[in-house]
Symmetry: C2
Amino acid sequence: MATHKTPPIDPLTLEVVDLIGTVVARYHEEYEDAASEHALTGAQARLLSLLSLEPLPMRRLAQKLKCEPSNVTGIVDRLEARGLVERRPDPADRRVKLAAATAEGLRVARSLRESLRFAREPLAGLSREERVVLRGLLTRMLSP
Amino acid sequence: MATHKTPPIDPLTLEVVDLIGTVVARYHEEYEDAASEHALTGAQARLLSLLSLEPLPMRRLAQKLKCEPSNVTGIVDRLEARGLVERRPDPADRRVKLAAATAEGLRVARSLRESLRFAREPLAGLSREERVVLRGLLTRMLSP
DNA sequence: TCTAATACTTCAGTAACTGAAACAACCATG
DNA sequence: CATGGTTGTTTCAGTTACTGAAGTATTAGA
C-alpha cells in the first residue's frame, strides 16, 4: 500500500513545505492588514507599490501583476479616483497610457512599506550569520 | 537626510525579505495554477483541502479561511453544485451544517495535492542537511 | 418560559478578475 | 503612401469573492 505512482515524499521535506505554507499565509495576512490600514485592497496596494518605483504603462502593470489588462483598468480607475495615481500620455507612443503615483500616492506607498512589519519582526530572532544562510538557501531554492 | 523616524533597515535583511516575497509569489502562482487545472478557484481549492481532512461546520470554515460565514455559504454552494462537497446536518446541534467532501471531492483534493509541484521542485536543489537548516530557520522565524 | 446568543442563509453592494469586442495609433509591406 | 495586421487601452457582460446587515432557526441560560 506504500507503493504509488507518486514517489513518497520524506517527512522532512513535507515539514519544510508546510513551514513555507505558513510563511506564505503569515506574509499575506500582514500584507492585507497593512493595506487595509491605508484603506487599500491587496490588489491596489500591490499596484501602487509598483508605481512608487516608476511610472508604468498599463500593459506592463498587467504583466507584473499577472492579470489581464482590462483588469488593471479598473484598479487604476479606483486609485485615480482617490488621487493616488494619475494617467499620463506616453510622449513616445500615443497609444500608451502611463500610470504614475501622485505625490499623495508616493506618500501612501511609503507609509505602507513602513507598516509592513514583516520586514522587521519575523527576522528579528535571526542573527546576521543566520540571515546570510537563509538568503543562500532561499536563493538556491528559487533559481533552478 | 539619512536620519528618519524609521530605523534604517540593513541591506541583508531587505534582501531576505525580498526573497521571501518571491517565495510567496511563486507559491501562490503554483497554487492557483494547480487549482485551475482542476477547474477550481483558489478559494474553492483551499476550502476543499480543509474538508479533505475532516468535515467541518460552516462557522469553523470561516474561521480557518479568515472570512465571514456568509462568504463560506457561497463557496460551499458552488462546490456543492459540482458534487465535490455536501452539507450534512450535525446530529448534536441542529443549527449546525457540516460541510464534507464527497468521494469525488476527496479524489480532486488528492489530485490537487499531488499536482502541487512546489513540494518537490524548489526543494530539489537542497541537500538533506540544508533542509534541516532551512527548517530550523523558518521555525525560529515563525515562532516569536 | 422568555430572552440572549449562536449558526446559517439571504440580500445588497463592492472589488477583482476574465474574455470578447471596439477603438485608436503604430508599423511593415507592397 | 496606402492598407492591413498588430498593439495598447478601454468597455462590457458575466463570474467569483468578499463584507455587513438583516432574517430565520435552534440552543442555552436566567
